[in-house]
Symmetry: C2
Subunit: 417 residues, 2 copies
């Protein structure tokens, strides 16, 4: 076991005091029966925190949730798949607010206590007439055993739902953390949207939660890349309701450190699951940059390597092509010296001091033939390091992303465009 | 006619006083008979200037040519395809120097008057034993009618040789400009695995030539991208021998302006030819960003759009997907306001004020069905603009770049690794 936590069932429904539900509206395709609208609700008031896309083009639900999150007291989240409600202007904001209102009233909450998230095609209005008839079901079906339905309702072209829940001790109290995620980096043929919702019955004040979430996102979701495209909808929201009855977690306390470790581990598990389930991905590659002068240099190198179309193509082909890796290292704008760079692929030396190592090519090919392998790039100039998780780029990815015309045809049928 | 120049034949051999030749060494494949080693030589002393990759990993011939170019008096260029002589350490420098020496002696030049360039696979030593037997032929075959052979000898995965030559008047004197270029993969702003050689019989002092070349490269080769990968070998070298017997072109004179226009036009023609002949490219797309606050904002937007895997996939599919374009505009880090962004595709409004325009989808699909089309992104925030030339990304590109194992197998046969 590589972690000190107990895995439990139930995803976002696992922590005490959280009720969830999901229904099928047919948002993307009126004839489909898959779940596409989900609700997470805490019976008690919550602390909340979140992070959102840094794209300057932000979907309406991102703008609305950012505003609602300011007080740090979200108590419910409503989320849909099938349409991103992005680039939809004033109407988009109206629709996102309407989603909040639809659940605020029966739950006796203020609109500002609701977070809202959407994922799907960009630029087409939400077909609200397909959501509205389902709000009553969504509320009625709220229950403590439905966490997995939320995970299922938010996916788009992901091949499977992704959720994790754990329990662990903070002092004398047992607490639970549950999360679900929907794929990033063009998981759907429409967008690069990642949605992640996390619930916990730990007791952590909003300001401390906010700082902790930022730290954990930096070490997890900010370290993955599939195709280098940043979406308009990326959203991570964490709700903490204190239902475990533990005392509040103070900043910098032992409990705070333990909680951060658990949250970081959970987020990293979810982030890695996103890469493994990336669109038409066949390889999961961990890129460790070591020996950089600064953290930023290490990060630049890791990002350049993980985003290079040529490097990713070679991973797809099972080709241990260190020449393409070092050429990406060179254009990363990090301070590097070619003659100091060592590259190990799957533990085997591929390049030492900027030159081809004497490892037989067959051994290197064997190393990259596995579905998961690690590349270590040592710049030999300092002590800073940075790790990223990435994937290959496949001909099937391009083929999959060639056209979204079908979405538009449905929107026209709906009279939305 | 969109330019005031007379197109002439002969490529880099067209200007007066330049002799060229090319031979077949079998550098990549000893059984092949294609041309892979070329020589350009001026009968008279030259002014010279050049620009090179900004990748920190630089191929040996780039390092050697940069040093030789310092005096601005190159008189010959030797170039090979099939092996990039990159990441080859001290041996690589020795081999690049040996290539210079091989032609310097019979041409009675100093080694420092020779430029050297290589293109091909990274990380494998040059098979010098296949170049050495061919140097005599290379010198013997020097002649005024061989320009096209040089263009043919430097290509790799290009589908055809690319050269242009023009003549025009500077005052009372007729002058000629000829150029050839090699492109295909690793093509991105700030230069790529791109080699470009240009000759002219205009008379322009080295310092003026240096400034003019920098200006013209910024407006041409730095504006193209195919896959966003920047190579270790990018090289542009211009030789000017004054054989037209015109007086020297002074900086800021009318003749200087006319010469710069001609050089810029020639470079842009060659740069566009590189994009059109990119690896497995099916679309040539001009992306014009207008109305930016600053030149840098416009450039950031153009680069983000032209490098997005999702945008390029949609171009491949003939999908007029403005949602993906605006999402790339949003993450470009330029100062933009979503609600002000207009996007026109092939002259048709696709997005006005950040929202879907009412142009029928059929018209937009028709616009992107052509092999060449233009996208205009107006940020409506200022007066700065920037234009880039880009291509789609095809499943065939990935497939083509999956493995370079064949190179390595040949290198092992040669006893080089």
């Amino acid at each position: 076991m590589d972690h000190p936590f107990t895995k439990i069932k139930g995803g976002v429904g696992a922590p005490l005091g959280f009720l969830t539900s999901a229904v099928s509206c047919g948002i993307k395709n009126p004839d489909a029966t898959r779940l596409d609208l989900a609700l997470i609700y805490s019976e008690k008031p919550c602390s909340s925190a979140g992070t959102f896309t840094t794209n300057r083009v932000k979907a309406a639900p991102v703008r609305v949730s950012q505003t609602h999150l300011r007080k740090g007291n979200l108590r419910a989240i409503i989320a849909n798949s099938g349409n991103a409600n992005a680039c939809t202007g004033v109407q988009g904001i109206r629709d996102a607010n309407a989603m909040c209102d639809a659940v605020a009233k029966p739950l006796k909450l203020n609109r500002s206590e609701i977070g809202v998230a959407s994922t799907g095609v960009i630029g087409l209005p939400l077909p609200m007439m397909r959501l509205e008839p389902k709000y009553d079901d969504l509320i009625e079906q709220l229950g403590p055993k439905n966490g997995s339905n939320v995970a299922a309702a938010i996916i788009t072209s992901d091949t499977h739902a992704k959720e994790v829940a754990i329990s662990f001790d903070l002092g004398e109290h047992r607490v639970r953390l549950g999360g679900c995620v929907k794929g990033a980096g063009m998981i759907s043929p429409s967008m690069a949207t990642m949605l992640c919702f996390i619930t916990t019955d730990a007791n952590i004040p909003a300001e401390n939660l906010r700082k902790t979430v930022l730290e954990c996102v930096e070490g997890s979701f900010n370290r993955i890349t599939i195709d280098g495209d940043m979406s308009t909808n990326d959203t991570v929201i964490v709700l903490a309701n204190g239902a475990s009855k533990m005392p509040a977690i103070r900043r910098n306390s032992t409990n705070c450190k333990l909680f951060r470790q658990a949250l970081q581990w959970l987020m990293l598990e979810l982030a890695k699951a996103v890469v493994r389930d990336g669109e038409r991905v066949t390889k999961f590659v961990t890129v460790k940059v070591e020996g950089a002068k600064t953290y930023l240099d290490a990060k630049k190198v890791a990002e350049a390597v993980c985003k290079s179309a040529l490097v990713k193509s070679s991973w797809n082909g099972g080709d241990p092509n260190w020449g393409r890796i070092i050429h990406a290292v060179g254009y990363s704008r990090a301070r590097i010296r070619e003659e100091l760079v060592d590259i190990h692929i799957g533990g085997k030396a591929a390049c030492i001091g900027g030159l081809q190592a004497d490892t037989p090519m067959e051994l290197l090919r064997e190393a990259v033939s596995h579905p998961e392998f690690e590349i270590v790039i040592n710049l030999n100039q300092g002590t800073a390091d940075y790790t990223m998780y990435s994937s290959d780029l496949s001909p099937e990815y391009i083929d999959f992303n060639r056209s979204e015309y079908a979405y538009w045809k449905q929107a026209r049928k709906d009279g939305l465009v």
